[in-house]
Amino acid sequence: MKELRLMKGNEAIAEAAIRVGVDGYFGYPITPQSEVLEYLMLQKPEERTGMVVLQAESEVAAINMLYGGAGAGKMVMTSSSSPGISLKQEGITYMAGAELPGLILNVVRGGPGLGTIQPAQSDYFQAVKGGGHGDYRLIVLAPNSVQEMYDFVETGFDLAFKYRTPVMVLSDGAIGQMMEKVEVGEQKKRLTDAEVKERCPWATTGKDANRERNIITSLDLDPHQQEVFNHKLQAKYKEIEKNEVVLEEIQTEDAEYLFVAYGTSSRICQKSVQLARAKGLKVGLLRPITLFPFPTERLKELGKQVKGILSVEMSAGQMIEDIKLAVECNVPVEHFGRMGGIIPSPEEVVEALEQKLK
């Protein structure tokens, strides 16, 4: 029988971590995601599965613990909110550079700086364009429900190990704090040492006599070799763009106008679609579920179908740049959003559409 729970997004992601058999969680508290660490501590996962849960001395320490754990082929994750994620950027680019898998949750709050503790989506650029230094990308998943917070832990780790790359779950304060019905999965066993060796032949799991030693590093002092490595990374990102785009469409079949929104904004836009259609406006919604890779191809097609696109994001307008690139100037694209932790109402979104595009 399926097991249903009422949980906050932050609790769902923590419970999922235990149930999919994550080996280690390393974090540092910050609103609005402190429940992740709190829930894990209360659950005593060391007794349930042997999972390690540690409050690190700082965000920087936590992300470097991920580097270490991932280097040994372990399933490791961390979570934070915007200012804490900025602190983690050095560790994240090192992980990308050393091709290490791992899961990083950002429960975004208003910025810049310490900003507010309310929900925002102003970390889009940081998440999808690199964030740290160097030519790298993260796979970025954008849940819009508590159920997806739960589900994306397993999805995220699958992708992280498939491509040997850090994966980010880009959430926000609203999804972290709200409670919804969640169907939780079966408890899975953590991988044994032998299983880890089999899955991660590259990991530092102890050298046998019959193989070369494995080295985990992002450093290569020879620029030619570093360029070869960069080409390899870029080929990997191309492969990800080819295979891993996930999106959801709502009432796009006959749409004359299109909202594009992810996360909390996409929930608001679902209601805005209903409100707009009640007024006789044929509006649809495209929700990117993966922000990198971005659903460029589908947007390009829809760009030929609709008269205008409204990018709705709780920011000054970041995702709009990727939408514009996708539609190649075939259709007007405008942005609507609130900032600093204010969540727009579904009515405001419809008004914005009418003012900017009709």
Binding site: T31, P32, A174, Q177, M178, K181, R267, Q270, I343
Partner: protein, 183 residues
């Protein structure tokens, strides 16, 4: 069926727990639910509110600006949310501490004096359950047996001996709710 509810009052009145019990009850009877709290500075002494949506369908926005029902437990919340009830919607309030009573003529208004009633019960902490009883009398969107099942799920086991007191409080709420105005 979709019911969009705001519950608003002081921190400590059990606003958030009342919303949680509604959600659990909804889950027990197979519905979709969302519970979206106000969080932040206001939690630390001041007003607390939560938006609860219970629906037979997938729920779109968890954040809304108009409600089918507002359950209002202090004056600040009355000032903020009275205008946000949909025309023809329902406003339920506790008269305790209310200096300006609701003025709209296009909504249904009910009063449930739960604070006064809670003072007469074994524990005043049943206040929110009395309010919930009043709400369920007017809008029976979740069945009483599912509320009890929901209570069992939302309360840690060490508090399960309090379920009968809570049940009594919910029943008391259904008895004392008074209709003030029909739209």
């Amino acid at each position: 069926m979709t019911e969009e509810i705001i519950i608003a009052g002081f921190g400590g009145q059990g606003v958030l727990s009342m919303g949680k019990i509604m959600c659990y009850s909804g889950i027990v009877q197979g519905q979709e639910v969302t519970w979206m709290p106000s969080y932040g500075p206001e939690m630390r002494g001041g007003t607390a509110n939560v938006t609860v949506i219970i629906s037979d369908e997938r729920i779109s926005s968890p954040i809304i600006s108009e409600y089918d029902t507002a359950i209002i437990l202090n004056q600040q919340s009355m000032d903020k949310f009275e205008s946000m009830v949909k025309a023809g919607g329902t406003l339920i309030y506790d008269g305790n501490g209310i200096t300006r009573h609701p003025e709209r003529k296009d909504i249904n208004i009910f009063r449930v004096d739960a604070a006064a009633e809670a003072a007469k019960m074994e524990t005043t902490k049943t206040f929110n359950m009395i309010v919930l009883g009043g709400f369920l009398k007017i809008k029976p969107i979740v069945k009483m047996e599912n509320v009890i099942a929901g209570l069992k799920k939302s309360l840690p086991e060490r508090y399960h001996h309090l379920i009968p007191v809570n049940e009594k409080a919910v029943n008391r709420g259904t008895e004392i709710v008074q209709e003030i105005q029909k739209a």
